[in-house]
């Protein structure tokens, strides 16, 4: 559960940092009459308030992070038993990783184009980002098929089971992001584009996509075995 505890410590640090700015030591019973405007009511035009959906997305990413850190904790705990043989990493995963990373980069690019108001040039970039993410998903399924064909089936070994479960969970999250992205893409190609809404959607999609890329890189390093050396090092330090 160490991975989970580290994740929780990070979340806890964020919460403490946020609470520190909320005047938790104020004495509300003495402050009758004053009206402090919460940030989202700020009248300052220079700093538009953070939209609620964006906060919502960050909270959701916290939940997704908890999910994956727990699954990874389980991975490490199960790994300690004697019947564990690491699953080989299909070469295709490198291609998939490249596709997912490019998709993320493309989204960031599209977001920048939208920020400059260049609606025409963002469309192909956005379409490319969408296609690359689809490519990643198809590639993942292809990787599953290669592994199964090579005899590494789901129930054979716990390493295989975790490989399929974790990639599956990650894939489902990518799929969920894709449905939203599809919606955004369709809207970007519509004739009456609302630049503000599109900018927000692209911003959110980019954040989500970067986060899922980070999760994938961590999972990939886990499957490839690099994370294990690091974990061994941590274990030696702890004991």
């Amino acid at each position: 559960m160490n991975v989970t505890l580290i994740f929780l410590a990070v979340i806890g640090a964020i919460i403490v940092w946020w609470l520190a700015g909320q005047r938790l030591t104020s004495k509300p019973w003495l402050e009758t009459g004053s009206v402090q405007l919460p940030d989202h009511h700020s009248a300052d035009p220079q700093q538009p308030p953070v939209p609620a959906v964006k906060i919502g997305l960050f909270v959701f990413l916290g939940v997704v992070g908890a999910l994956f850190s727990l699954a990874v904790s389980a991975y490490f705990m199960r790994m300690a038993s004697a019947d564990w043989w690491a699953t080989p990493v299909p070469r295709l995963l490198w291609v998939n990783t490249a596709a997912l990373a490019s998709s993320s980069v493309a989204l960031q690019w599209a977001k920048r184009e939208a920020g400059h108001g260049r609606m025409e040039s963002l469309r192909p970039v956005l379409a490319a980002a969408f296609a690359l993410a689809v490519f990643f998903l198809v590639g993942q399924i292809q990787a599953w098929r290669e592994l199964t064909a090579a005899g590494y089936v789901l129930a054979d070994n716990p390493a295989n089971s975790f490989f399929y479960m974790l990639t599956g969970l990650h894939g489902l999250h990518i799929l969920g992001g894709l449905t939203v992205l599809a919606h955004t893409t369709v809207r970007a190609f519509a004739s009456d584009v609302q630049p503000d809404r599109l900018r927000l959607s692209l911003d959110l999609s980019a954040i989500y996509s970067h986060f899922m890329l980070a999760v994938w890189l961590l999972l990939f390093s886990l499957f490839a075995g690099w994370a294990n050396d690091f974990v061994d090092l941590c274990r030696t330090l702890l004991t």
Partner: protein, 592 residues
Amino acid sequence: MVEIPSGSAGAIPSAEVEDVELYHPRSWWTKYVFSQDAKIIAVQYSVTAISIGLVALVLSWLMRLQLAFPGYFTFIDADHYYQFITMHGMIMVIYLLTALFLGGFGNYLIPLMVGARDMVFPYANMLSYWIYLLAVLILAAGFFAPGGPTGAGWTLYPPQAVLSGTPGGKDWGILLMLTSLIVFIIGFTMGGLNYVVTVLQGRARGMTLMRMPLTVWGIFTATVMALLAFPALFVACVMMLFDRLLGTSFFMPAIVEMGEQLQHGGGSPILFQHLFWFFGHPEVYIVALPAFGIVSDLISTHARKNIFGYRMMVWAIVIIGALSFIVWAHHMYVSGMNPAFGFFFATTTLIIAIPTAIKVYNWVLTLWRGDIHLTLPMLFALAFIVTFVNGGLTGLFLGNVVVDVPLSDTMFVVAHFHMVMGVAPILVIFGAIYHWYPKVTGRMLNETLGQIHFWTTFLGTYAIFFPMHYLGLLGVPRRYFELGETAFVPPSAHTLNIFITVMALIVGAGQMVFLFNLVWSLFRGKEAGGNPWRATTLEWQTPQTPPVHGNWGKDLPVVYRWAYDYSVPGAAEDFIPQTVPASGGVTREVPA
């Protein structure tokens, strides 16, 4: 953060909304069934949760009948008994308490108490309820599935949960249970995002975090915890589904079932326990923190006195929330884990007693020299304090490894957690319903029926669970279908079991009075008016009662003071609503 002194009211930016910004339901269906109004969703959540809770109540009667009169009721066999235990536990903890506190009270109270028009994502909020309903239906389908619901115990420990010796292990039971939990968690996440972001982003002008009523603090913190803890249950359920359906060995060790070697091997049942209790312990506080918050508001309002140590109360809620994530393994002292871990977890467990004790002292000090009105909400709040202290004290026993080991498998544990996380939160739920029913319906609940309900419930639950501690100390084991002949259990224990069962039936009957009251008062109850309890918080200041869609008229409320200005010296009334500006320009200096 911009700060505006009270004299210059004109400087407060207007928060009037254009009419189009409000979502307007177009038909009866979208107004009352597929509603996006948090208040309707709250009622839907509450009715569903209470309905499935009644099923769990009946299950507890059946279990008690079996324990008191073993062999008398032939339709209850060992398999059924375990199914009753499992479903009773799971329904009460997750589908009733969690759903009612967060989905019910959270939906109703958060937008009203922070001065918002609605939740920030109304559509996701609606989905959250319908997914919850789906989860309840999947769960209830277990009763009609071949083989019946699962009988694995509410903790669903593998390997037994998915083996043929356990009811539902190789049938539909366990599958439906796991699926239902997964669906519940997905639905809850949608609702949970709403509760958190509404508190963060939906607060009215002037509603700083430290002016929020403690109810909102409790529900907010509990939701953050639930969002972080439920994924553990999610992962555990998914992995167990894989083990059961696809033959993997996440949790399943090499095992021989009915003389046949199973495919599984090498899996770790302890891994499941870690995941389960990583969710399971925060779950206790997910239920308790909203109760803490609500009870603080009930006590302050009905004792006409500001809450004692508001800042401490807020900090204690946050600290309890944080600590509850590092105590999970105290549920696993007897699982064979490293004793050094046991020592660590015993320490963290006992540390939680400090912020909890702060809360109890502050409730008592709020009552001290208060103008206590023994209304129904107040009675329930007082009963909660007593019950929670009683249940909490036995928690100190069980938190110690050496005391826990002999007691762990006895009725003592059953008595402990029923007092602390069964009866105590339920008492708060009742108190809260008596308190807010007038706002929800516009009518008061009947006082006489309420008194009958209160005294039956309060005295009755003590008659049930106090003797159970004694049974536990005698060594009467929990989870047993029948005791049979044992050397160490005296015959008097059987007599006591009969007494407990009779009391359980009486308490159950008392709840029928409550249900009757809910329905009867809806039509015949006394008209309540907008603010029958003369309370300060925003939900009592709505222009209409019950509040209409959008909650506030054209302009959102502005908050000038904290939520506990009761019996302020020199004030005309013994309460000053949060929306009232400081009178006559007497603004106290705000320390920077």
